[in-house]
């Protein structure tokens, strides 16, 4: 039947596609995945055989997107008790890699016909899978492939935004906050203003990164993009209110962990320490601050197990990072701060 309308080898694609749709309508997700996977393989063969042309790429995009979403569905609806978690998604990633290899290897076609222009779309699909199954280390070779691609600037804007969102998250995970800021800022600024959901997703990562670098978000922005939960955190950090900070950490623990920002939020505590100590300094209005005064402040804000030595350890870290200018005298148990600008603004630090 299909053969009458489409010619080989594309007829195969149509057949698999229809079968897959039928399986989905019957809620047989695993079967649907198997069919979509066979479809992807057939498609890989087709694009491989097409030399010097890339008009088929849009079809590939759709097929690969479908593959990932069907795999996600099959994964969550898995019924058998012999499969391993993440197995289907891992297999889907392998199929996507198959397409990716074909595109990446196409280096003989002319610039307008090259399939290499399709790489970024696939990389983004792969990122989505790898982030879901928590295999971030697999992203590295993909990033390298894109960064060294001569078409780096010619990929479509939407794909570039997605790409930078994931690379930014990866950089954040690797504690490279400068790079994370750069990538995420690009993603946020270029993301279309009506894509509120995407903008919100970007902000979940951009806000903590920015805060760590000393920039405080405005309440309106947080409200506008429905991430007002961060506002309490902003206040806790700005006021040096460690008690509130700890409470928020506990309250939002699972949210922070799920988004993978728990440890970066935890780092904001260092800034909260700085702000608290600055307050103590302003209240005492002296350049020689007794360590005891700082410790008292810590204890009064719920850090009850912190003793003098640990207080000094915290201050030492702040001095080392340049967040406080001064030195500690262990003999006198005093922190001696600089007469000029003892607490330089965070944004002035490299």
């Amino acid at each position: 039947m299909v053969e009458r309308f489409v010619t080989a080898p594309i007829d195969e694609l149509a057949v698999f596609h229809l079968k897959c749709l039928y399986a989905l309508s019957q809620k047989r997700y695993n079967e649907a995945y198997q069919l979509q996977s066979a479809l992807t393989q057939a498609l890989t063969k087709i694009i491989q055989s097409q030399k010097e042309e890339n008009w088929f790429l849009p079809v590939m995009y759709v097929v690969c997107l479908d593959l990932r979403t069907v795999a996600q569905k099959a994964e969550s609806e898995k019924v058998g008790n012999t499969e391993k978690p993440g197995e289907i998604l891992e297999k889907a990633a392998e199929s996507l890699m198959g397409c990716f290899r074909v595109c990446a290897a196409d280096n003989r076609s002319s610039e307008e016909d090259t399939k290499r222009i399709g790489m970024l779309n696939l990389v983004n699909q792969l990122f989505k899978v790898y982030f879901r199954i928590n295999k971030l280390h697999l992203c590295k070779p993909l990033i390298r492939a894109i960064e060294s691609s001569p078409f780096k600037e010619s990929f479509s804007l939407s794909q570039q935004i997605t790409y930078r969102y994931y690379v930014g998250r990866k950089a954040m995970f690797d504690s490279d906050y400068k790079a994370a800021d750069q990538y995420l800022t690009y993603a946020f600024e270029n993301c279309h203003k009506s894509s509120k959901r995407n903008k919100r997703l970007i902000l979940i990562y951009l806000v903590p990164v920015k805060m760590l670098l000393g920039y405080i978000p405005k309440r309106e922005v947080l409200e506008k993009y429905d991430v007002i939960q961060f506002w309490d955190l902003v206040e806790a950090v700005c006021q040096g209110n460690l008690k509130l900070f700890d409470e928020l950490m506990e309250k939002h623990e699972s949210f922070f962990i799920k988004c993978g920002i728990y440890l970066i939020i935890d780092k904001l505590k260092i800034i909260a320490y700085r702000n608290l100590f600055r307050k103590v300094y302003l209240i005492l209005d002296k350049h020689q601050i007794p360590v005891e005064a700082l410790q008292t402040a810590l204890v009064s804000l719920g850090q009850t197990d912190v003793d003098l030595d640990e207080t000094q350890c915290i201050v030492a870290n702040l001095i080392y990072e340049g967040k406080i200018k001064g030195y500690i005298s262990h003999q006198h148990r005093k922190v001696v701060v600089s007469k000029q600008n003892p607490f330089p603004p965070l944004t002035s630090l490299s």
Binding site: K84, D309, Y320
Partner: protein, 357 residues
């Protein structure tokens, strides 16, 4: 349908291998029949010979059932190695270690080829991992020709990651089974908390290890896991004081493996203190530093400071910005507080039965 291969060998070593190694004189001294060691061809002691590790190579069939050991035989092998051989006094311990590691590798290979059921796999893997952990500490002062820490860490990391994966899978499956009303298949894993903590402490300061620990279900977040996380997060934050305070309180094997990170914790602390306590007049008493950074004695701390070019005068450290030279981190050493924890515990019971936590 179960397509996996099932071993048929019920001894620690397959018969073919015994014959071959006797005739080719490939017996290890620990496997020879007592009294025959000096012969041209020593005889194998059937009760002590253990299957060697061999790489898979073209032309050899690794999956012949008669050469693969059954679960019972594997358990017997591990018990023999970690109960009897481990305390052997015939050879220096690093040679005993070489023998055991090789034979354990063969055990892991047998399990892998047969794709043993998760519960068996888990129960055999656990003592193996404790052995690697113990060895990492015990042999940390040896020269590279005697003991290769990188290789041992690789064994430890690989086995540990596999174990955690098995925990996840078996939990996933048992949850499914429970949902299906099939409660028989529920797998009992009683020391998971310990190994979760071990993973955190072994990879101290590592973000993904911390995140794994944090996202564990509440029932696995035992006190020992929380303490391991506290240490690791403190290291990440640069709070050496808190890290050391809690590190000291970890159970024996965890304290031992964590102590291998002390040189880098100390280096980090000294680097920061050189800046924060920088003064030409003021000093920092050695005794306080020794206490904070868990140094076993004064000599160790003096040696460390000399290594980093930090001045000590009259039992006090003189920190001066820019004076510290950032040499390579010193190698790990045996630490007094770990030695104390280890004493009074036989190695084999520590490795086979595990820590008290």
């Amino acid at each position: 349908m179960d397509m996996s291969i099932r071993g048929k060998c019920t001894e620690m070593c397959p018969a073919d291998e015994i014959k071959l190694r006797e005739s080719e004189r490939l017996l290890h001294i620990l496997e020879m029949m007592p009294g025959t060691e000096t012969l041209v061809k020593p005889k194998a002691d059937r009760n002590r010979i253990v299957k060697m590790y061999t790489r898979s190579a073209a032309g050899t069939n690794m999956s012949l059932p008669k050469n693969l050991r059954t679960t019972d035989a594997l358990i017997k092998t591990v018990n023999y190695l970690l109960q009897d051989v481990i305390s052997s006094k015939v050879l220096p311990w690093h040679l005993v270690y070489d023998f055991i590691t090789d034979r354990l590798l063969a055990v892991r290979q047998d399990m892998l080829i047969q794709r043993l059921p998760q519960s068996h796999y888990i129960s055999i893997l656990q003592p193996i991992i404790r052995f690697y952990t113990y060895a990492a500490y015990k042999l940390c002062e040896h020269t590279i020709t005697q003991f290769d820490p990188v290789l041992n860490n690789k064994h430890l990391q690989e086995s540990l990651k596999l174990l955690l994966k098995l925990y996840d899978e078996s939990e996933y499956i048992s949850n499914k089974c429970l949902a299906d009303g099939d409660k028989n298949k529920h797998i009992n894993y009683n020391c998971r908390q310990f190994f979760e903590a071990l993973y955190v402490v072994f990879n101290l300061g590592d973000v993904s290890a911390i995140l794994r620990g944090l996202s564990l279900e509440k029932k696995w977040r035992a006190e020992v896991v929380d303490r391991a996380l506290t240490v690791s997060i403190a290291v990440l934050r640069g709070n050496w004081y808190r890290a050391c305070q809690h590190l000291r309180k970890l159970p024996t094997l965890l304290a031992a493996i964590a102590s291998l990170h002390l040189p880098s914790i100390r280096r980090d602390a000294l680097t920061k203190m050189t800046v924060a306590y920088s003064s030409k007049i003021l000093t920092y008493p050695i005794s306080a530093l020794q206490e904070q950074l868990l140094y076993s004695n004064k000599t160790d701390i003096i040696n460390d400071c000399a290594h980093y070019n930090i001045t000590i005068e009259n039992d006090a450290v003189q920190f001066l910005k820019g004076s510290m030279t950032l040499q390579d981190t010193l190698g790990p050493k045996h630490e007094q507080f770990v030695t104390e924890k280890l004493s009074g515990r036989s190695i084999s019971s520590l490795v086979l039965d595990g820590d008290v936590w």
